[in-house]
């Protein structure tokens, strides 16, 4: 069980030693990055496989006095996403980033350390600290190209994420004031006798703070600007992990500290489902008018995360399974799409949709992966997107949110239209000769790997599902999560 700590320490140690290798040992840079990425992958797989009966790892052996780490099936799912996305990200960005490489990998290792810290900790303030680490290093990555628009978009991203963190910090301080502890399990025990109004206000602060970071409706304007001029491999990690870690922190905070019956009683479930429906409708409509590929995918990320929120906040066990499965699927699908767009950008600096006219015939495999990815994200039958979207619709119907289920189907057709727009331009004939810089294998391999994962998880959904079906046992009734954490 002490491997859980290494999941956080290893990326930190690599980031620090990369800093030193930049100065004195320039030769070992390549080996260091790849070696630690592979070691990290192996470590993650070890931690995920030994994660089922969750055990508690207390930092500094202080038990409930200090900070504890715990690998719950939900955090094991996020470690699986890190495992699936991080190595392709490293291989892809080895060749993709032309300019200084040391800082790029220092930031990416710090971001992954921040996210894995957030995912493993059971302490409220530690969650806030690691969220700040991961958001600052993701801002650093997003302004890597130093273009005017990139810096402006990142500035808005940093302002909004700090604004959201203030609300989360305010809520953390108030929970500490009311309960006297910072450990989530003890907070939920101590929250039993706080009056209803105070408890729901603190919950409102948490939801508002995390909604800014997730990009729900009124606060989503910063997301497309942050994605526009940032390096494409970073977009993969950002939409696959950074946004989702905010979703994770929200789910962990609400389900463990407040408990499912309080969420139901305070009406939060219906509010968030309604909020999700409005968000993905507007996101799909806005995505339709986009001509820039990155902005289009950014709006589609907002919509997909709205689906995830609907799935997770339906409140039933099926909803939790569907939402978590969609978290995994969306990370893979968006990863393939962004990687393919990255290769088009790398080979002929394609940014707008018109630039990729007629590429279907020059890059047959890549365009096929793009079609697979976009059909999966729209939610057509043979692919994994369909599986999770169908489970979300089923859970929404079962829990009585019929309007949500209906609007998800409407959303599917809306997203079909703008993805078809891209696919059609991909395959229309294009006379003018294109100077193409050949994309090497190290760019194609990650894309094809993630594309094939789309198909595999679509046809054999039981592969990831046997991990995901264990998630609701620790979230819905937070009793045994608390028993393990306090007993441990």
């Amino acid at each position: 069980m002490e491997l859980a700590v290494w999941v956080i320490i290893l990326p930190l140690l690599t980031a620090f030693s990369l800093g030193i290798s930049k100065l004195y040992f320039k030769k070992i840079f390549f080996k260091l990055v790849i070696g630690s990425a592979i070691l990290y992958l192996y470590l993650l797989i070890l931690v995920i496989t030994t994660s089922y009966p969750p055990k508690v790892y207390s930092i500094g052996q202080w038990g409930l006095l200090g900070i504890n780490l715990m690998v719950d099936p939900l955090s094991a799912l996020f470690l699986l996403i890190i495992a699936l996305l991080f190595l392709p990200f490293i291989i892809f960005s080895m060749k993709y980033t032309k300019c200084i490489k040391h800082d790029y990998f220092i930031f990416s290792y710090l971001m992954v350390a921040g996210i894995s810290g957030m995912v493993l900790t059971t302490d409220l303030f530690n969650l806030y600290v690691f969220m700040e680490v991961s958001s600052l290093s993701s801002c650093a990555l997003s302004l890597y190209k130093k273009t005017d628009r990139g810096i402006e978009g990142t500035f808005k991203y940093l302002i909004m994420s700090t604004f959201g963190s203030f609300f989360i910090l305010l809520a953390t301080i108030l929970t500490y004031y009311l309960t006297g502890t910072l450990n989530m399990a003890e907070i939920s025990l101590a929250f039993e006798d706080t009056p209803f109004t105070i408890k729901s206000t603190i919950m409102a602060f948490f939801v508002f703070g995390y909604a800014i970071k997730i990009g729900l409706l009124p606060m989503h304007a910063w997301l497309p600007d942050a994605y526009e001029d940032s390096p494409i491999p970073y977009n993969v990690l950002s939409s696959g992990l950074v946004m989702k870690s905010a979703v994770y922190a929200l789910i962990r905070g609400l389900y463990i500290m407040f408990g499912i019956d309080f969420l139901d009683e305070s009406g939060l479930l219906t509010i968030v489902v309604f909020w999700g429906v409005i968000t993905f409708i507007t996101a799909h409509c806005l995505a339709f008018q986009q001509s820039n590929l990155n902005r289009l995918l950014a709006y589609s990320t907002i919509a997909q995360i709205a689906y995830i929120m609907i799935g997770l906040f339906v409140g039933t066990e099926a909803g939790l399974i569907a939402g978590s499965f969609h978290i995994l699927n969306h990370a893979i699908m968006k990863g393939t799409l962004f990687f393919v767009v990255g290769i088009f950008n790398y080979s002929l600096a394609a940014v707008e949709i018109e630039d990729i006219k007629g590429l279907g015939y020059k890059f047959p495999i890549l365009s096929f992966t793009f079609v697979v990815g976009s059909l999966a994200i729209v939610g057509l039958p043979p692919f994994n997107g369909f599986m999770s979207k169908w489970l979300i619709v089923e859970a929404a119907l079962e829990a009585g949110f019929t309007y949500a289920a209906f609007f998800i189907l409407v959303g599917t057709f809306l997203s079909l239209t703008y993805y078809l727009k891209v696919i059609v331009t991909l395959y229309t004939k294009n006379e003018k000769p294109l100077l193409i810089e050949e994309a090497g294998l190290s760019l194609k391999l990650p894309t094809i790997f993630l594309g094939s994962l789309c198909i595999v998880f679509g046809i054999v959904p039981s592969l990831p599902l046997h991990l995901i079906t264990k998630i609701p046992t620790f979230l819905l009734d937070n009793g045994d999560y608390i028993r393990i954490l306090i007993g441990g």
Binding site: V129, E132, I151, T162, F163, I173, L182
Partner: protein, 111 residues
């Protein structure tokens, strides 16, 4: 003691107002510093016990102020300081590229 909580609320809302309405980039970063200082002040108020002494236990004291909030406040100060430094670096870069500090003009020039 109530004026302390009232001051925290006023500072928090003043900082939030500055972030939302002010057009000048540096004023927005000042607003963020104000909100952050108000949260640190709130942390100190939460941990204060009337008649308590500082948490340096060189001798036995009967009432001691809560050390946890001071550790959290130290962490928040350092985090806020480094985030402000990064923001100000971006403000300088933005000013160099767009020759203005007004956020609306930057949006117009962005194209």
């Amino acid at each position: 003691m109530e004026i302390a909580y009232v001051a925290v609320i006023i500072l928090f809302c003043l900082g939030m107002y500055t972030i939302i309405t002010k057009k000048n980039l540096i004023k927005i970063v000042i607003g963020i510093t104000i909100v952050e200082s108000s949260l640190i002040l709130l942390l100190m108020l939460v941990g204060y016990k009337p008649g308590g002494t500082a948490p340096i236990l060189d001798k036995r004291y009967e009432i001691v102020v809560d050390p946890i909030t001071q550790a959290l406040a130290l962490t928040t100060i350092v985090i806020g300081g480094s985030v402000t430094a990064v923001m100000l670096a971006m403000v300088i870069k933005l000013h160099k590229r767009y020759r203005t500090l007004n956020i609306d003009e930057i949006r117009k020039l962005r194209g």
